[in-house]
């Protein structure tokens, strides 16, 4: 199939699901799952076909390997979360409001697809802003005081932050007018052309503002403050989408701006700043995971940590750094979805978010307990799972660069701290076998299927690095100017 057909399918499937949920209002969970089942293979197909960057639909959409890679991560999370939503949304919700949930859920996926394919930088900004608008309603969906609070903080912090990115875009456009004249179209490929020729100060300011603005959305510390609230208070499928898919979409923008400064020959300082943010995220993640009591908040801080790892990978740069960061995007997407699925089931089963009250998990949730534990081991970066490989290659990338060796050592130490802190919580949840069994509903088969799929995928990605990925990552690294 040709690429335009694939793009239309990718964008039409979630939209049809939205329409179905709003108009028919029955069986919407199945239609949503069907849409996700269409999107996943289509996104892979699109990724395979994206050998060269292409512009489609009257300059509106831009598909290259990097964008298609992020698209595929979104589609994976959308699929796994759609399975789980069928189970999760049965418990304790008003049936009357379910259609609006599924409509928003599919629309959220659609906005993320659209944002990762946007060609013009302004449209990308609008796409990211649209993801915020849609997901606000999903975070506040349960209408408890806590979820309202989380939704309010989310929209205020993120819209404030993202306006800094808009200012950055205006400054970059201004810089371009010195090269191309007062009116032109600022898209991703033009940015790389004008970056070397525009006044250096405007490129630097534009990059910094884009980094801070999209960094808010990507959850890089110290701009992460909305993230733990939003991720812990939405329904679990939404948390998975926010954490596994949305953060990558914002990271995509940061990486593209970083590439423009590389192409313009601004040297190492943009990378240094990204590395600093990455280390800050790891520190924040490590400290808050250690003393966390809320199960989903702990997973949210783990997302801050993993965004830090990805930022470090792109910050260290070079082939290994970029390879590691890209591989980590996919691994983290799958793994964090797995963790949130387990967490959502546990919250229903135990009727609380408090880690201290969750004891004796293997007896309480026999079918999924060991899959969840495997996910917990994987997310701390232990072998033989995919995250071990990606974190290792980021680590080696930092070690091999002379100037960043101490950063690599610090990175390793923080990973060890997180390993201990994270698994200690799980140890306490799993070993106390004499605790009374909780009363809540048991997880069903639609929880078990995505968890099994995710663990299998993580295991495969950990044992075997697909050669095709090496080829794709090589192309992306070349495109980002990191190959030299």
């Amino acid at each position: 199939m040709s690429a335009p057909t694939l793009i239309i399918m990718l964008l039409a499937a979630p939209l049809l699901s939205v329409l179905w949920s709003l108009l028919v209002r029955r069986l919407m969970q199945w239609v949503n799952l069907l849409a996700a089942l269409v999107c996943f293979p289509v996104s892979i197909w699109l990724l395979i076909g994206a050998a060269k960057p292409q512009i489609y639909f009257d300059q509106m959409l831009y598909v290259d390997r990097l964008g298609a890679w992020v698209l595929m991560c979104v589609a994976v999370v959308y699929l796994l979360a759609s399975f789980f939503a069928m189970d999760d949304m049965r418990h304790g919700r008003e049936a009357k409001r379910l259609p609006s949930f599924y409509a928003l859920f599919a629309l959220f996926a659609w906005t993320m697809f659209a944002a990762s394919m946007a060609n013009m930088i302004g449209v990308y900004w609008i796409g990211i802003e649209m993801t915020t608008l849609v997901s606000t309603f999903l975070i506040g969906y349960e209408r408890r005081a806590e979820s309202m609070e989380a939704a309010w903080k989310y929209i205020i912090i993120v819209s404030g932050g993202i306006s800094i990115a808009l200012l950055g875009t205006v400054l970059l456009y201004w810089g371009g007018t010195f090269v191309l004249g007062p009116t032109y179209t600022l898209d991703w490929s033009i940015l790389n052309v004008i970056a070397p020729k525009m006044p250096a100060v405007l490129l630097q300011l534009g990059f910094l503002m884009a980094l801070v603005g999209y960094g808010v959305k990507a959850g890089l510390a110290p701009m992460h403050t909305w993230l733990p609230d939003a991720h812990s208070e939405g329904p679990a499928p939404v948390s998975a989408m926010l954490s596994g898919a949305l953060l990558n979409c914002a990271m995509l923008g940061i990486v593209r701006f970083l590439a423009a400064t590389d192409i313009a020959g601004h040297g190492v300082w943009p990378h240094r700043i990204l590395i600093a943010l990455g280390i800050a995220s790891l520190v924040v993640g490590a400290l808050f995971i250690m003393r966390q009591r809320g199960l989903k908040r702990m997973l949210a801080y783990s997302s801050v940590e993993h965004m830090g790892v990805i930022a470090l990978g792109f910050g260290f740069g070079g082939l290994l750094g970029v390879f590691g960061a890209l591989y980590h995007m996919l691994n983290h997407s799958i793994n964090k979805t797995l963790m949130f699925i387990g967490a959502g089931s546990a919250v229903h089963r135990y009727g609380t978010h408090d880690l201290m009250q969750m004891r004796n998990v293997p007896t309480a949730m026999p079918r999924i307990a060991w899959l969840w534990l495997a996910g917990a081991v994987a997310i701390t970066g232990a072998p033989p799972f995919g995250l071990f490989r990606s974190e290792l290659s980021v680590l080696i990338a930092g070690w091999m660069h002379g100037g960043t060796r101490w950063v690599a050592i610090l990175f390793l130490l923080l990973l060890i701290v997180i390993f201990i802190g994270f698994l200690n919580h799980f140890r306490q949840m799993y070993v106390a076998t004499d605790a009374p069994l909780p009363e809540g509903p048991k997880p069903g088969v639609m929880t078990w299927i995505p968890m099994l799929l995710a663990v299998a995928a993580l295991l495969v990605l950990g044992l075997w690095w697909p050669p095709l990925f090496t080829q794709w990552f090589g192309q992306i690294a070349h495109q980002l100017g990191a190959a030299s």
């Binding site: 302004g122 609070e149 200012l167």
Partner: protein
Amino acid sequence: MIALHLSPLLASIFSLIVIGALVLSFVMLGSRWLMDYMLAFAVQSWLIAILSALMAWTGGYTELYFVAVLTALFRGLVLPLMLLWVLKRLHVNRELHEVVRPSTALVLGAVLVIFSMVVAYRIGHAVDIETRGVVLALTVMLSIMLIGFLMLAIRREAVSSILGILMLENGIFLGSQILVPGMPLMIELVLLFDLLVAVTCFVVLVWYLMASVGATGSQALQKLVG
């Protein structure tokens, strides 16, 4: 760059409008009445609309006429009316918990303007355009943005937060009219549309907060920490 070759009269009018917009943002800092904030925002939006129209007329950017109409309509009329509607139902008409007193806030705002001016001069120097118009536009754009962030930091009412964000976006609009009047029409259109959606979202959230938290100040939002 249109701001480079303007007749003295037009240049003065531009400067007047731009500085007027800056002064209006100080109205927000200096008052504690929510109605004042709303009015200051509305007038600021009208000034920006006039600026767009003038820009369109002098520079021949016909698209900007459309932007001017939309700015006046949405940001100057619809948004203030929606906020008015919310204000009438909130039964909160002033800031109750002051983090920083209005007089101190004014001084802080002045410091931010001086900072913006230094930055603007640096940028102007680096890109070899030290025209007064460009430096002024940059100064005002950065100042309004920073004052918007200051509002977000020191005011606690939900409506003040909304207005803080709207104002910092006003700063970007104002700056982009002068610095990059040729930025494609579609972007500007969607920005206006997007803002409308954002405010709808905000209005809903204020209602949610009312229903469940019982207050609309952010000091009530203390449940989620750590």
